[in-house]
Structure formats: C-alpha cells, structure tokens
C-alpha cells in the first residue's frame, strides 16, 4: 500500500485532505465553543475512561466565586492581543475546573491559593481579589509573578501563581485558538522531506552530516 492508499484507508484522499480540513475549520465565533469541547469520537476510549470523564464532567469543584477569580487571573496571564483571544475566550477556566477534578493533587493548592489571594486583598484593599480594581489586582499579581524578586512573605503566592500560570498556558495553547496562535501546523497527513532549505541556510547547517 502506498501513501495515497494509506490515506484512503483513513478516509482521507490526497485531494480531499485539504478540503476536509478547510471545511472543518470553525468560524472564529464558534472557536470558543469548540475550544474546550471533546469531538465526541470515543472509538479510542475504554469503557472505564468514558465513565470516568462523564463522572468528572458531572461534578463541580470550584465555587462561582472561585471561578470568577480564576477567570480574571487567567485573562491577566493570557490576555487578548492582536494574534488571538484571551484565556477565557479559549475556555481556560473550564479546563482548569476539569483538570483539578482529574488531578486531585491540584485541588488544595488551587483552593488554598485562591483563598490566600483573597485574604491578601481583604487586608490591603478591603475587597476580595475579584472585587478589587484592576490596578489593585495587578499590584498584587506583580508581587507574586516574578519568583526571583518576590518577597519571602509572598512565597506561597508565588507558588500558587506559578501553578495557575502553568495550567493557564496548557489550557490556552492546547485549544484551536492557542494552536493557531502558536503556529503549530502539524497533525495532518503530509510528507516529511526534512528541514526546508532556506531554514538550513538561515542557521548555517548546510554541512551537517550524519555518521
């Protein structure tokens, strides 16, 4: 079987591959909905996995207050810019809600970290984080977003923000929106001929030989 036939076996002919992929491209406004959603194709799932995901989706971990805080923080970490939307546009808060249920080791650090943040804000600004002004929110984030210069008494906040930042990056860059922003163009049938010539030249790798 050659490559053309093997793509046919996948239901993708070389001619239709591009068309198919174009047809599958969601409109920008649909992107957000699609972003965090499973396609529903479960042929690759074991029954125990389908059950597990169903159960997790049905549970709720974060309170509305916590979700509102996560949404604000996520958008501070990854805001909308000229390339793509914000973390909440890509449904990052929904991803974080799921992943803490899936990986319970995130639960206490996230819940406790959010509470730590609120207590800090109450003491300083007499408001929970989500009800502070943008300027107040950023003032606090500035004190926990830079591990190298954060004060010792802010270390718990640094640890929390680090986790929140990691989850936000995963949640954003694994969506259609994030992948397009990043410019990852793989995961499609293609032919690999090695690094393009112009890029080989750009890095002066013309003479690199194996063996």
């Amino acid at each position: 079987m050659d490559r053309r036939e093997s793509l046919k076996a996948l239901g993708i002919t070389t001619i239709s591959a591009g068309v198919l992929l174009d047809a599958c491209k969601p409109k920008p406004k649909e992107q957000a909905e699609k972003a965090a959603a499973n396609t529903g194709d479960t042929a690759d799932r074991q029954p125990v996995e389908i059950e597990r995901d169903k159960k997790l989706h049905a549970e709720t971990f974060f309170t509305p207050h916590e979700m509102a805080t996560i949404t604000i923080l996520g958008d501070i970490i990854i805001p909308k810019d000229e390339h793509s939307g914000s973390a909440s546009d890509a449904k990052v808060p929904e991803f974080i809600e799921f992943i803490v249920k899936d990986m319970p080791e995130h639960q206490t650090p996230m819940r406790g970290g959010l509470r730590w943040l609120d207590v800090q804000c109450m003491n300083r600004y007499s408001n929970a984080f989500k009800d502070c002004t943008r300027q107040q929110q950023l003032e606090l984030v500035d004190e926990i977003a830079y591990p190298g210069k954060a004060k010792p008494e802010m270390q718990q906040g640094v640890a929390f923000f680090d986790r929140m930042r990691s989850l936000t990056a995963t949640g954003f860059f694994t969506t259609k929106m994030g992948i397009d922003d990043l410019g990852y163009v793989g995961n499609v049938p293609n032919k690999w001929e090695g690094v393009p010539e112009d890029i080989i030249k750009q890095y002066g790798l013309e003479n690199v030989k194996l063996g």
């Binding site: 996995e49 899936d102 969506t175 990852y184 499609v188 690999w192 063996g211």
Partner: protein
C-alpha cells in the same frame, strides 16, 4: 454442586499461546501461517489500531489535553492501556528495593506503547568479551537469518553503517532530522559522539508483498498506534493477519492462572479466568507457548505447581524469576537560544527516533563493563498538557525581542509572546544502557498476596550497583558535553551522585528481560537455546525471558527474531513428532 465450576473445553489445540505482544504475536503468526491450529489467550481487551487509535486527534479532543491517567500511564492519546499500577492486580517489593512494572493488558501488549526503536543485538552482545557479562548459548550469526526475516516481514528504516556491534539490516530510507536534531548532530560531532540515522519499524516505503499496511504519512504519532498500520504493532502486523488464516483463535480478557501438566510432567494446556464473566476455564493443547512478558511468564510458571513440579513448572534449576534485568536510563533536556522565534513548518516527522548515537567506546578504559546508546529528539511538537512549563523560568535567562533581559516569570502580553518565541526550541537526550544480569535481581511469588482473581502475585527484589551508576554518570557527562557544544542551555534538573546521576528506578525503561534465561546447562538455565523448557519439552517461552544478558539495544527486535526462530523449531519438532 455449587455455583463455582471449571469449564473445560473438549477441543485440543495444536498450540496455546499466552500473550499477544511481540513474542506471542510472532509465534502465533508463524504457526498459524504453517497450518497449525493455535489458540491465543490475551489478558486484556481486543485492540485494532485501525479502529481504536487516537491518531490525528488534537489536544483539545482530550479534556485533560493528553495528560496521563491511571488507565493510560503514557497519556490520554497513547495507544497503551495500563500503567505502573493496575486496579486489583498488585505486585510487591522486598527489602525496600524498587521495581516498577508497566503492564499493558490489551491485544498487542506493550508493542502498543513502545518507541518502535528497532536495533539488532550485535556479535558482542551475544558473545560479550568484557569478562563480566555471561555469554548466550547462541551467536549473532545464528540469529542473523531471523533478524533478516523480521526486517522483511515487518519493515524497518535505517542506514547501512558497517559498525561492528551495530549490525545493519534490510533498511528502508530513514526520515531526515528535525531542526533541533541537526544542532544535536553538529554538537555531538564536536563532542566526539557519532550520531547516525535512527532505526525504526515504520514503513517509510511500501512494504514489498504486503497489501494490508500503509506507508508513513509523518504525523509523528506512532505512540498512538497507526490507523494505516504503517508502524509495527503486534496487533496490526502479526495477530490480525494470523487471524485471517483461519488457524488462529483469539480469546481476549483471558487471564491465565497456570499451565496444566499431567503426571509425566507434560504440559496439557492452561487454566484461565475470563474477565468478561469471571468464570474459570481450562483449555487443552499439545504445546504451550508463554509470551506473557518476562515477569508475567515467570509468574505463571512459578504458580504452576504439581507433584512433578513442586517448585513451579520448569524450575528444577531454581532460576525462574532470577537474572531479571531492565535497561538503565538517564536523560537531560535543554533549549537552543539560537532558535528563538523560529520559522514554522510541519516538523512532526516520525514517532520514533530520527537519529541516535550507538555505543562505540571501549569499556576496558572505563569503570563500567557495558555501554549505552543515546536517543535524541526535539522540534515543534503538538502542544499538550504541561506545554511551555519552562518558559516562565527561562524568559529571565534569554534576552527578549528588544535584546534586553527581563525578570523571569511574568504575565500578560509579554509572557504570551514568550510562549510563542520559545516554541520548538527544546530538545532532549536519553541514554539507554546495559543493566547487568545478576542472580540477586529477581521476581518471585509473594507468599502472602494474591490479585483479585486469586492468583498469587510477584514480589520483586532489584538493586542497581556501581556498574549501572557509573554508566549513568558517564551518560550525564556526555550529555553535558553535547549540550555545551550545541550552544544549548540545559533545562532539566542537574543530576549527581546524590540521585545516582538521574538513573531511573529499575523497571522504568520497560525493557525487562531475563527471568527464564536460556543455556546449554539445565542446572544453570531454565530454557535451552530454542527457548524450550529443559524440564518440560512441550513448553516454550517466547518473550524476553530467555535473554541471558541484555544489550543496550531495545529488546523488541530480538524478541521477534527469537520467537520466529522458536516457532520454526516447534514446526520442525512437530514434523519429527518430538513434541
């Protein structure tokens, strides 16, 4: 009569094969194609990559973005079911030692998980001359015809290099290196490490005479199992074709309890529990072939006790479970500052190694007896769980777009831009080396513990010693030199004597072999050189158990070659009516 009964089948098969991975799959393939009536028992579910693979799914099609779960230890998209722990199927360890046992209960076994890295053992791997390693009772020249046949049957890419202990095969064209991999080739050359194209069982060209398997379309997802059958999995390339002969029957979810024997010590069949109905079954066969994995086959043999076999079947030597070996593993990863803001293109390539460094050094000048090879990788891979985790640390190390350094961490538009700039600049290198075969590294039956089927479980006792620790130190020193010459920055945790130079715990590399080793002396080995039990002539073991002393090379290609050789021996012995 109560509800509990054992269902006995009246049919007598020519052979029963336990396990459907590389060893069991190959034995069943050869026998079924020769007209032998074979029954295969697989402890897990049926799996056909064409139907059940996650290939070409995007990360957002997994709610956990491809992260690992208890049910799938190598990630939500990985083909392999199972992990280091299975519900209801415990194993234990002895004297505070550690051995991590990865099990994949499904059709194809751990060929669903493996990296498709397909290396032949060399002449010096079978007949080592280091004065420490034990020699096999067979030579490379005896196995070479089978490696050749495996290459032709399953397909492999690579290049003819003419290296003494890295035998060439019958190769298809190899994939070209990715961009960070070109920097590795260059840096390794400057560090005095020879890097050659990888050798992988992925069809980069049509496989002559085979109409069932497609060729690679370079999605880089062999680990998910290829829907077009362009990579080697035991299910797609051996078991499913064998089923089409009409000579192979397959029972999935059949967990084998023991091998049955008669009063003369002949194997008569096996007993198993069906996970579907939790009933007990017995099947009869003239020949019993174990390919359940090195440790699981040893477990079955040790659990098969009778008046003839008081210490377990085929265990008159007392060596079943002994000489357990896993490969050593230690790794480093880094980033290439030169590649910041690199131009985008599809760099998925193949899902196996594009390049690797074979072991070419002289151990006589070193403080460890056997070597290791290095596997390399890097490039603009598909984002998944944990994406860019190093970025908020290293955005304080490398200058920003304006050429100025800033404080590490951060948030907002500038951080978002850093994730873009750092994308695809990462690379990794991992050593895979020889773990020495030792009597004192073993698995045995835990006298106190059974699994949920009532089958006594394995207890492991495994320790590395200086042979492996010194080798891991050498790996780390070599990695550091290569990364330095590449102009890279290491980003993985530094290793040293305090963590045995990053040496992974025994079992973690999932190359365990050697529990039923072969030999010419029945007092010092479990199997003869045909992988036939010294004690029980119609019992064979076709997984990695027969390996006397592993090499640095991944075991699968050798398991396949030896299983094919054993299956042909069984055909020969059948024709002579010896079994």
């Amino acid at each position: 009569m109560g509800d509990f009964q054992i269902k006995k089948s009246s049919k007598v098969y020519d052979a029963v094969v336990v396990g459907s991975g590389a060893g069991g799959g190959m034995a069943a393939y050869v026998l079924a194609h020769a007209g032998v009536k074979v029954l295969m028992l697989e402890a897990g579910a049926y799996f056909d990559p064409a139907k059940h693979s996650s290939q070409l799914k995007f990360p957002y099609e997994s709610p956990r973005r491809g992260a690992r779960t208890k049910e799938r230890g190598f990630g939500d998209f990985d083909a392999a079911f199972g992990s280091w722990e299975l519900d209801g199927e415990p194993y234990t360890t002895k004297d505070n030692t550690q051995f991590d046992w990865f099990r994949s209960r499904m059709l194809g076994g751990r060929t669903n998980h493996w990296g498709r890295i397909s290396l032949r053992f060399g002449p010096k791997d079978f007949q080592p001359d280091d004065g420490v390693s034990e020699r096999w009772p067979i030579t490379y020249d005896e196995v070479k015809p089978y490696y050749d046949k495996v290459d032709r049957l399953l397909g492999i890419f690579g290049t003819v290099e003419g290296l003494e202990n890295e035998p060439d095969g019958i190769f298809m064209k190899p994939p070209k290196p990715r961009l960070p991999e070109l920097f590795i080739v260059k840096g390794a050359a400057a560090a005095g490490v020879k890097v050659i194209p990888g050798r992988g069982s992925v069809l980069t060209e049509p496989l002559p005479g085979n109409k069932e398997r497609g060729t690679c379309f370079y999605c880089g997802q062999c680990g998910r199992a290829c829907k077009a059958y362009a990579d080697f999995s035991s299910s797609s390339c051996l078991v499913i074709p064998a089923l089409k002969t009409g000579n192979l029957e397959l029972i999935s979810n059949a967990m084998v309890r023991e091998v049955l024997t008669d009063k003369n010590g002949q194997a008569t069949g096996v007993s198993y529990i069906s996970k579907d109905d939790m009933q007990e079954y017995q099947v009869s066969a003239k020949t019993v072939i174990l390919g359940a994995s090195s440790c699981e086959s040893a477990r079955i043999m040790l659990n098969s006790k009778s008046t003839v076999y008081a210490n377990g079947l085929g265990n008159s030597s007392g060596l079943v479970g002994r000489y357990l070996q896993d490969s050593t593993g230690s790794s480093q990863s880094g980033i290439l500052p030169q590649l910041l803001d690199r131009k985008r293109f599809n760099e998925d390539a193949t899902g196996t190694i594009n390049i690797y460094a074979p072991w070419l050094q002289d151990n006589k000048k070193l403080d460890f007896p056997r070597g290791y090879h290095i596997e390399f990788g890097g490039g603009m891979s598909m984002p998944g769980y944990g994406f860019g985790s190093y970025v908020p640390k290293y955005n304080g190390v490398l200058p920003g777009r304006d050429g100025k350094k800033k404080e590490a961490g951060g948030y907002g538009a500038s951080l978002k831009d850093d994730y873009r700039r750092f994308y695809g600049i990462q690379f990794g290198m991992a050593g895979r080396g020889v773990g020495m075969a030792r009597y004192d590294n073993y698995c045995e039956i835990d006298p106190n513990v059974v699994d949920k089927y009532g089958i006594p479980v394995l207890r492991f006792n495994y320790k590395w010693n200086n042979d492996e620790i010194n080798q891991a130190r050498h790996m780390q020193e070599t990695f550091s030199r290569i990364i330095h010459e590449m102009g890279g920055i290491p980003i993985s945790k530094p290793h040293g004597p305090e963590d045995m130079w990053g040496l992974e715990a025994p079992g973690r590399i999932i190359h365990e072999v050697g529990t039923t080793r072969m030999g010419n002396d029945s007092r010092k080995s479990v199997l003869n050189k045909w992988c036939q039990s010294h004690d029980c002539k119609n019992l064979f073991v076709v997984d990695g158990g027969s390996h006397v002393q592993q090499s640095d090379k991944n075991a699968t290609w050798t398991i396949l070659a030896l299983s094919m050789r054993t299956a042909e021996y069984i055909l020969d012995q059948r024709s002579k009516q010896n079994i």
